[in-house]
Each structure stands twice: as C-alpha cells, then as structure tokens.
Symmetry: C2
Subunit: 347 residues, 2 copies
C-alpha cells in the first residue's frame, strides 16, 4: 500500500512535488486544497480530489500525509491544523519565520505523535553530495575554508518571495538550503558564530544578496554567498585544504580535485611577476598540479520522500529532523541580526 | 640635481628598489648599509658606497633620502635614527607592528621636519587601478560587493616572513597592501567594522591565509581573501554592482565588464534546471550579456618615487601619508583581534 498524500497550496512548488512523487515508489498524491479556484481546477485536471475547504480536506481519511506548500507566512497555522487532524506533515522550506512558530509545530507533532519534517531536499543535491564526499575522502587534508556560492543573473526575487510579509528574500529562500547543507556537512554543533551582510540589489523589500561566514569549532571557516545578480559566476563550491583544492562549477558534476605532485617544502625561487618580486605567489612550473575527477555519488531528490515514507512505516529514522530545522531557522535569524547590527553573532 | 638615496638592508626588496630607481627620473641610489658583509659586497658590486656602520651611513651627507628595507621588526629603530639624522625616510611595508611605534615615527618626522612615508607601491598596481577606474566610471551602478582576492600555490611564507618575531604572516605581508588599496579605493573613513578569519595552512608560526570582510558606511561590503595554497585561482577582483559585474583575473589587464542588454524587469519564466524549478536562477538566453574590455589606465610603480621626490622638492603633496599608514596598521591589528576573538571589530 502506498503512502497517500494531500497537498495544501497547489502552486509552483506543489506541481514539482506532484511530479516527483510519481517517481517515488510508495508515494501517491491524491488530493489538494487551495484558496484559488483556478489551482483547484488544475489539481483536478491532474487527477486529484480538489478541495476549497481546509476542514473538509483535513477530514478526508484517504491520505495520512500532508504537504504544506504555501507562501512561508501561512505555514504555521496549516501545519498545526494538519497535525491536529492526525496527519503526518511535510512542510516546504523555510518552515516558518519565528522560533515561536517552529516550537509550536514541534510540540503539536509530539502531542499528536505524528511525523513532522521539512522539505530540505537539497541535502540530496548532486553538487552537495560531491562536496561532502570530497571532504570525507580526506584527499584535501584539513579543509580550512569551505565556500558555498550561487551566482545568477535573474535579478530580483519574484512573486511573494519578493515580499517581506510572506517571508521572502534570499536568506529565507535559498539560504535555508545552503545553511542546512552547511550543518549537514560539518555537524550540527560545528559552528560557533556567524557574520552576515545582506544587500537589496534589485529587490526593495527583501534581501536578494547575502554573504555569510561561519566560524567553525575546528578553527576553519564556512562561507555562503548567494546573489541573484552576479553576471560572472564563481564556482558553486570551493574546498580549500592544506593538501589540495576542490572546485565544483555548478549543480552538476563539473570541476576537479587538485593536488600537487612535488613536495611543497621545495623552496621556490624568487620570481619577478607582474605582482613584483615574489616567492609566495611565484607561478608553479607546468605539470606539478594534478587534477582528478570529482566523485560521482548516487543521489536523487526522491530519496527525501523515500525516507519520509520509511519513517511513517517505522522502517527508518527521520533524516530531516525538526530540531535541525529549528537550528537552521535560529541561524538565519542570527544572520539577519548580524547584518542589522554589524556584529558577529555567537551560535 | 637628482634626489640621492641610501638603502638600509640590501636584501631581496632592496635590489628591486635599486633596479626600479634606475627607471625613476630624478632618483639616484648611492649608498647601502647592511649587517651582512655579503650584502655590502653585493651593493658595492652594483656601484654603491657600502657601509657596515649605521652611524657612518647616516653621517654621509651625499644623500638626503633613506629607504628602510629590513625585516619588519627592525623598521622602527632604523626609521627613528634616520629621521633624527636629518634624512627623509621611505620605509618598506608593513611599517611596523604596533601603533606605539608608528606614532613615534610620525612624531619624530614632525619634530625633524622630514618627510616620512611607506612603500605602499601597490596603489599603482595595474589591476587595482583598473578596478578603481571601473568603480569610478559608474558603469556598474551601486557596487554592493567589492572582492579583492589573491590565490597562489606557493604554500608557506618564506624566510623571516614566516617568523612571528619579525612580523611575518600574510596579513602583514600582503594584507597591508590590499587593505591600503581598500581604503584608497573607498575612502579613509569608508569602513565601519571588520571581521577576519586567519589560518595556518602550511606555516606554523604565522597566518598564511586570511579572509576579511569590511562593512562599508554606504551599506556595501569589501572582501579581502589571500591564500598561499589555493590551487584553483579565483579572479583577483570581482566588483558586483546593481547594473553589472566586473572581474579582473590577475595582476594584468585581463577580464571584463559585464552588463545586461535587456531590462532586468522582464519577468523570467520558471525553468527546470539541475537546481530544480527556479526563476531566480534560470539561465539567461544567450546574447543578453554584453562583455566590454577593461579600461587601460596608465600607471607604474615608479610613480611612487616620483611623488616622494616631488614632495621633497616641494612640488607635490605626499600621496602615501603617515596617518593613512597608521590607519592601515590599526586595521590589521583589529583584523587579528577579530580572528582571535571571533568578533566583528568596530573601526
């Protein structure tokens, strides 16, 4: 028997969930609720039961799992109602805009003994998995700087994502993924403090650029930079280690792992470059750098739902845990505080 | 009559100064003092009067200008002695390691009515001048992020630059230039605070990597990142503006100024990328980005000495002013404090 799911908010992301659910064995989307009649009609065209009443939707016992895929500011009330109706809940990210709201969600899930999780699907992104595998391989030695970037040329935040009241802005929209990745990669107690700077490049109400640095407990740093209007893209990932450097260009498997053939202890000669006389920045002779292919981990976004299903069926432990989601939200709020106060904030 | 110069410390940098002085009209190097007989011999081979006694060197009235080009920790005493001997003084960078010492230098120069300046020659670097010209051209609109990077593969800091007692390390060695450039580009009161993280990648005693962010009074950020062991080099400069992006690859004139042809206000469609469904990061169609050549400013390191000479001769105002040098040193010390305390430091 597949786990059946109903969707609240049949907009852009819901369509994506619906499409991907078809690729997820053991998951079937059966119903949708929306406040917009056109979207209900669209859900019905796709073969779903369409509801214009939340009460009636939640009373439908043909599904046990609910996806909340509305604008961010509407998540909390809907998640609470769904949990109180006895449903398990997957909520779109960012889960909510305040710690008070996430705490209510977590309590309500516990009270009803239901599963509550958030769609942090980018833990299964190819580029992220590659970066994590490179880190784990220890090829790079001590990785003193991890740099996670995304540069696009689209410009402004679109639709409700450009509006403050709906919880728009880049830190909430993509920051929530990249910060979740940072914790997943380094550990949930890996960071001691955060500094963040935001900008309003093309969007008036909310941030559409941010640049954030974590200080790591092990002495390294973790950088996240996302901009919607950077016309020269830097690599998606840079991993700077004391034994080598890895770079990943975009979301796919493109880039390399670079190490040196000869011992770095060789004393370089002073070279006259366009930088002036330098040993430190003297170019290395050709051929001493070795570039290897990136690893090729097997991963897919449907792995997220596979784990949700297995958790509902009692076969696995939940991967995206509510307390992790809370930690990411607390970090985003700390980053906003840092940007506002120009202080580095302890985590 | 050319201005005549004597050099204290005839090592690696002194040779460079000597060579460049030959290209500087109106400057002539005539003498050198060193504690190492081999270096005195080398200076003599190059046609200079060689001194093994500082007292005798400073008593030589055939030159009025002294260059101090020793390891950093020896600068202060030598600068004071030269000023007290009635010489004008150019000191190598970083001028010294404490504010107390630079204050003594400034006071001593004033007391003796002598010119005192520091060799911040990278204000005349081609790449820096290009970046400054791009910024001034306003092609990029509001430049919300200025990123100044230098990545090399040389590894460790070499010689005394790897030793703490001599004031080694990357923040002192190259940071002093890039921070001086930052102030020169944005203004001497442009930054409100600094956050910095250092690393010991290949060097035990001193930092050989640092990553620093200034908060700018106008709301933007200015980033400086220098590493001796980054095997995939990012561009030397990235200027992120709300109307375009400029990048400069290295120290020479390589890179471009990128703007968009069409109005960014065009609503992009949702595109299914390897990143998932996205409007913000949907790739732009080909041909809407325009890349223009970088400007080609005329500049040369000898311009530094030309100004020193013109200042001695009363024809120009000193460009590299002692109070600016003090400001850069105070900023480096704040950056070290930030790295140590994991706090953002007000400037």
């Amino acid at each position: 028997m597949p786990v059946k799911m109903g969707i609240i908010g049949y907009g852009g992301m819901a369509g994506w969930h619906h499409e991907h659910s078809a690729e997820t064995p053991g998951l079937e989307v059966v119903a949708a609720y929306d406040i917009d009649p056109a979207r209900i009609a669209k859900a019905q065209e796709k073969g779903l039961k369409g509801y214009d009443s939340l009460r009636q939707f939640l009373a439908d016992d043909s599904f046990e799992l609910v996806l909340v895929a509305t604008p961010n500011d509407a998540h909390c009330r809907l998640v609470l109602d769904a949990l109180d109706a006895g449903k398990h809940v997957v909520c779109e990210k960012p889960v909510t805009l305040t710690l008070r709201d996430i705490d209510r969600m977590i309590e309500t899930a516990q009270k009803n003994d239901r599963i509550f999780t958030v769609h942090q699907n980018r833990r299964w992104d190819k580029d992220f998995r590659i970066a994590r595998d490179v880190l784990a391989s220890e090829t790079l030695g001590n990785v003193y700087s991890i740099q996670s970037r995304l540069h696009g040329s689209g410009g402004a935040m679109h639709g409700w994502r450009g509006e403050k009241k709906h919880g728009g802005g880049m830190l909430f929209d993509w920051g929530v993924h990249f910060i979740d990745q940072a914790y997943t990669m380094c550990g949930w107690d890996a960071f001691t403090s955060v500094r963040c700077r935001t900008a309003n490049v093309k969007t008036t109400e909310v941030d559409d650029y941010f640049h954030l640095q974590f200080d790591r407990k092990d002495g390294g740093e973790y950088v996240v930079e996302i901009g919607t209007f950077v016309l020269k893209e830097l690599p998606r990932w840079m991993l700077l280690g004391d034994q080598g450097t890895a770079y990943i260009n975009g979301f796919a498997r493109s880039g390399g792992v670079i190490t040196l053939d000869n011992a770095i202890e060789d004393e370089p000669v002073i070279v006259m470059t366009s930088a002036g006389p330098t040993r430190t920045f003297a170019p290395r002779p050709d051929g001493v750098k070795t570039e290897r292919e990136l690893p090729d981990p097997d991963c897919h976004w449907t792995d997220y739902y596979k784990n949700v299903i297995a958790t509902i069926e009692g076969r696995e432990e939940l991967i995206v845990k509510p307390e992790q989601v809370r930690r990411v939200l607390a970090t985003i709020l700390a980053a906003f505080r840092s940007a506002k106060t120009q202080k580095q904030i302890k985590l």
